[in-house]
């Protein structure tokens, strides 16, 4: 029995620990004594049962008492804290605003990062969606985008794999213009499994079926919800309606409407497909195309449950090997790879966003440091209060608790204001960053609120940490002595943590500033980069529609023309090609003659294209297998193309009027293609061909064009004269320098050539280039904005610490001045202190900046992470900032009245 009593007492004693420290100090022993007596009596009167019952009742009451007591203390602390804040409104406002900025920025970026990077894509079991890629390890491999398959290659993968429950191919098809001002539908082709892969069911009608791929009758079209509401007025009877209402369009019938929110394959609003059409035999193999010769299909699949990416890739490797053996000409160097579709969508956005997140996290830290410093300065001023409280019996814990309550209150207020800022910030981010995927999904919801609460907790603990540790270490007697003015006022106890914090702050701000400096520098390089062509004062537009001339059946067909060419060795065109060539020549002549046009040309491709494809080339006298297949972008261009774009000629000649039908087939190659095909030899006079087409002889070598912009890699390019391969449909115009407007009358000239033709939107290359640079431009602006904000916060921090230091040392400064110290000396003393912070913080910051830049190297363009110019500029900015921050306090110090100080003494 006795043992039981003892264990109950022990249990009760541990329960008492729930009570606040002060309460335990006051009544702990008494409660224990009373409980023991009560328990003894219960044991005597009612035995074990009564004693147990008493123990239970007391335990419950103790817990209840603990809750009430803690709540009571909290209320006291909050009331006390609020009173202190009201007494020092300046401190409170600065602290709340600083924390609001930090919390707001970090929450805003989290909102974006969460929506873009962390959340699953809006498809059922989205983590099982994979993107299949053709990996070409050899020369001329693809970079970026969703690397395309040829359709037979896709069919082989579809039929041979067992790791995917469904797999589908899709590719952009084109645009269909609707009547009047209704707009343009963007169409894409999809194999029948696409919606099965994505797990999407139409809300009206049906999806595409294998039967649709036979190509009988008008093509069935599945439209998106957006297209349904925008173009068809959300007509509930839209099923069965024709897709387009103009007779020129290919006939298609709407068979299904997709659910709202369906987005595929693009998530950044740049390529939103409105209608999905089946892959008919004509789409699979357009006239003149070589099977497995054209790679333009993107492939997505759904992993079988329980199958991981690694297993899938092992099987894909095996399939790739089989295909390489079966089709050595086309598939020899191809590997197959499955990657997560989520990764494919958000992969490029991840690193800039995480970088932003790091930047705002630094900002939050700087804000915390600022508040910590304010608290430290204030806690120094409140030493007397704390000392008196301690002398009156408030334990250290009580003081710590008070501090934590105060920082929590500040963090909470800052957090609430910060949420408002986060809302505005996230909206601004979405508005100004048009090409990040999934941005429209960003909103402040429970997840974001929970994150923001976490930030508030972190902030309150982080801001209170140093003052609390310092407070709790300080002895009561020392504090009272200091508070009464008998302690030393030299930089020391308060200064040490404050110094460290200010240096940390400068280092963090400088790291950000350095990163921003590198990005601005890198952006300047992007703008000034040599693209291999002159993008200034050039406009482009698509020539749309088809010639209205009657389709005659006379003349050569394409196969007959080809056969003729093989016999004669001279270019022979089909009737249709001949008409197109004449029409294109006429078009260029007319447009070039317009006033306000310096030169004009037509090409199948222009710089900054919507999409790009490559074809395998064959070289005369070299076996395909030896060549290891080179892929090149091909274009048909009119003779003025190189002059209009100012693409420099390296060797040989440009196209001219000789290069037409009835003459030998010629080509111009880019430097990279020349190097890949004829390493160490001259390309001039060599024979080159695409697929099974006849060989053309190289007459010229031109400079490489970075068609996608400065970050592009030189791509092998093969140019044909349009007169020998008439396909060009994109107009390129060079306008006289300094002319702002686009020439009038172009549209009239185009219609004048053929009433069936019209001109698409005229776009200026400079604008297209800017659109390509929107990502870097945005990243640069955001990081610059963050770094300036960080610098401003650091400036406030340095200013605060110096001002406080001067205030505390008034006495010392007065005596120094009384002893003959000049104003200049006092000023130097304060500015010297500022300079020391700057020096240490600056060195740490630049080192941090270089380390950060090394990690984020991929985001820099032609700028080294330790770029000396950036180091110099950033150091200058820091020097100016610190002098700015120090000037006020230094000036204040020189105004100390030595007489007043001596009198006080």
């Amino acid at each position: 029995m006795r043992r039981e009593d003892a264990s109950r007492r022990r249990g009760f004693r541990s329960l008492l620990r729930l009570l606040p420290f002060d309460f335990r100090a006051d009544f702990g022993d008494e409660i224990e004594a009373a409980f023991e007596e009560q328990q003894r009596e219960a044991q005597q009167e009612g035995g074990a049962r009564r004693s147990t019952w008493l123990w239970l009742r007391t335990a419950v009451d103790t817990v209840r008492l603990a809750v009430l007591e803690h709540w009571d203390l909290l209320r006291q602390d909050v009331r006390f804290g609020l009173r202190t804040f009201v007494r020092s409104p300046g401190f409170t406002a600065v602290a709340i605003l600083t924390l609001a900025l930090g919390t707001g920025a970090v929450t805003a970026i989290f909102t974006i990062v969460d929506a873009v990077v962390f959340r699953p894509l809006p498809f059922p079991d989205a983590d099982r969606l994979v993107c299949l890629q053709v990996v070409r390890n050899q020369r001329g491999g693809f970079r970026g985008g969703m690397p395309p398959f040829s359709y037979p290659q896709f069919e082989d993968v579809r039929d041979q794999n067992t790791v995917l429950t469904a797999v589908a191919a899709h590719a952009g098809a084109g645009e269909i213009t609707l009547s009047g001002t209704r707009g343009t539908l963007v169409t894409a082709n999809a194999s029948s499994g696409l919606f099965q892969v994505l797990g999407t069911q139409p809300i009206l009608g049906r999806s595409l079926t294998p039967g649709d791929e036979e190509g009988h009758g008008p093509a069935p079209a599945v439209i998106t919800h957006r297209a349904w509401t925008t173009f068809y007025g959300a007509d509930p009877h839209v099923i069965g309606r024709p897709l387009a209402d103009l007779p020129t369009a290919e006939p298609a019938i709407i068979v299904g409407v997709l659910p709202p929110g369906f987005r595929f394959p693009s998530y950044d609003g740049r390529f939103d497909v409105d209608a999905w059409l089946p892959v008919t035999p004509k789409v699979k193999l357009p006239p003149g195309a070589v099977p497995r010769g054209t790679s333009r299909w993107s492939v997505v699949g759904r992993l079988r449950p329980g199958v991981g990416l690694e297993t899938a890739n092992q099987q894909l490797d095996a399939i790739a090997k089989r295909l390489a053996a079966a089709y050595p000409d086309t598939d020899a160097n191809n590997g197959l790879r499955a990657t997560s579709f989520h990764e494919h969508v958000v992969g490029d956005a991840r690193s800039p966003l995480l970088f932003f997140f790091g930047a705002v996290a630094s900002l939050l830290l700087i804000a915390c440091v600022n508040v910590t410093n304010l608290l430290l300065a204030r806690s120094s001023a409140r030493e007397r209060e704390f000392a008196i409280r301690a002398a009156l019996g408030a334990g250290r814990l009580r003081v710590i608790r008070q501090m934590l309550t105060e920082t929590t209150l500040l963090a909470l207020a800052g957090g609430i204001v910060g949420l408002g800022l986060a809302y505005a910030g996230a909206r601004a981010f979405v508005a100004f960053s048009p090409n990040l995927p999934r941005l429209d999904e960003a909103r402040i919801d429970l997840r974001v609120l929970a994150f923001s609460l976490g930030v508030i907790v972190f902030t309150s603990v982080a801001a209170a940490l140093v003052p609390v540790v310092r407070c709790s270490r300080r002895g009561v007697v020392e504090a009272l002595a200091r508070a009464s003015g008998y302690g030393s006022s030299t930089p020391g106890s308060w200064h040490r943590p404050a110094n460290l914090l200010v240096v940390t702050q400068i280092a963090l701000a400088l790291t950000l500033l350095f990163a921003a400096g590198l990005m601005v520098n890198s952006f300047a390089h992007l703008i000034g980069a040599d693209l291999g062509f002159d993008r200034h004062a050039v406009a482009t537009a698509d020539v749309l529609g088809s010639p209205s001339q009657p389709q005659t059946r006379s003349g050569l067909t394409w196969p007959a023309a080809l056969a003729e060419e093989r016999r004669t060795g001279m270019v022979t065109l089909s009737e249709r090609q001949r008409r197109r060539a004449a029409l294109n020549e006429d078009l260029v002549r007319r447009v070039a003659a317009l006033p306000g046009v310096e030169s004009a040309a037509l090409g199948t491709d222009t710089p900054f294209p919507e999409g790009r494809g490559r074809n395998g080339v064959r070289i005369e006298g070299v076996l395909d297998r030896e060549l290891a297949r080179v892929l090149a972008e091909t274009a048909a261009v009119t003779p003025g193309y190189f002059k209009t774009l100012r693409i420099g000629l390296v060797a040989g000649r440009l196209f001219d009027d000789r290069d037409r039908e009835g003459r030998p087939r010629v080509a111009i190659v880019s430097e990279t293609l020349a190097r890949l095909c004829w390493p160490g030899k001259s390309a001039l006079g060599q024979g080159i061909a695409i697929g099974s087409n006849p060989f053309a002889h190289v007459v010229g070598i031109v400079r490489d064009s970075l068609r996608e912009g400065p970050t592009d890699e030189p791509s092998p390019a093969l140019y044909y004269p349009d007169a020998q391969d008439p396909r060009a449909s994109k107009l390129v115009l060079r306008l006289p320098a300094g002319v702002a407007g686009l020439p009038a009358g172009i549209e009239r000239e185009v219609r004048g050539v053929d009433p069936g033709l019209r001109l698409g939107q005229l776009r200026v290359l400079d604008d297209l280039m800017w659109a390509r640079l929107i990502g870097p431009r945005f990243i640069t602006s955001v990081v610059t904005a963050f770094s300036l904000l960080a610098l401003a916060l650091a400036l406030i921090g340095v200013h605060g610490v110096l001002a406080y230091s001067v205030a505390r040392r008034t006495h010392e400064i007065g005596i120094r001045m009384a002893l003959g110290g000049s104003h200049g000396r006092v000023m130097r003393m304060v500015l010297g202190e500022a300079t020391r912070y700057a020096l240490v913080g600056g060195i740490a910051g630049v080192a941090g900046g270089i380390a950060t830049a090394r990690v984020a190297r991929a985001m820099l363009f032609q700028v080294a992470p330790d770029d000396p110019l950036t180091i110099v500029v950033v150091s200058l900015v820091l020097a100016v900032t610190v002098v700015l921050a120090g000037y006020g306090p230094a000036h204040q110090a020189t105004r100390v009245d030595p007489m007043a100080c001596l009198k006080q003494e």
């Binding site: 006051d26 008494e30 004594a33 409980f35 209840r64 008492l65």
Partner: protein
């Protein structure tokens, strides 16, 4: 720490019992608990935790005070402290007793009419 603003507008029954238990004699905690149980025929049984929650409150409000006059009796637990009712406490307990009596009177009158 006097907290006038926290003084209860109405006193809880347990608080009232504790004050009444100290009306005739200074007592330590365990004695208060026993006195309360005896006065209420065992219907109010305070636990040590509840009692000291109340004691802290009454001390803070100045309604009871720790007495130093009373010498510890032989064999007394040294952890014990004795409390007495302050004049303010007595007046407040008196007022509370009157209020209860008034409530009782009104209730009895109302009930006897039915």
């Amino acid at each position: 720490m006097k907290r006038d603003e926290d003084r209860p507008a109405t006193m809880s029954p347990a608080m009232f019992h504790v004050m009444v238990a100290l009306a005739d004699e200074d007592r330590h905690g365990y004695a208060i608990m026993k006195e309360v149980a005896a006065r209420t025929d065992g219907s109010v049984q305070l636990t040590a935790s509840t009692l000291y929650g109340i004691v802290k409150r009454l001390l803070a409000d100045g309604l009871i005070a720790e007495t130093t006059a009373r010498a510890a009796q032989a064999g007394d637990d040294p952890r014990r402290r004795y409390y007495r009712l302050t004049p303010l406490g007595r007046r407040l307990a008196q007022a509370e007793a009157n209020r209860i009596a008034q409530v009782l009177k009104l209730a009895r009158a109302a009930l006897s009419q039915g």
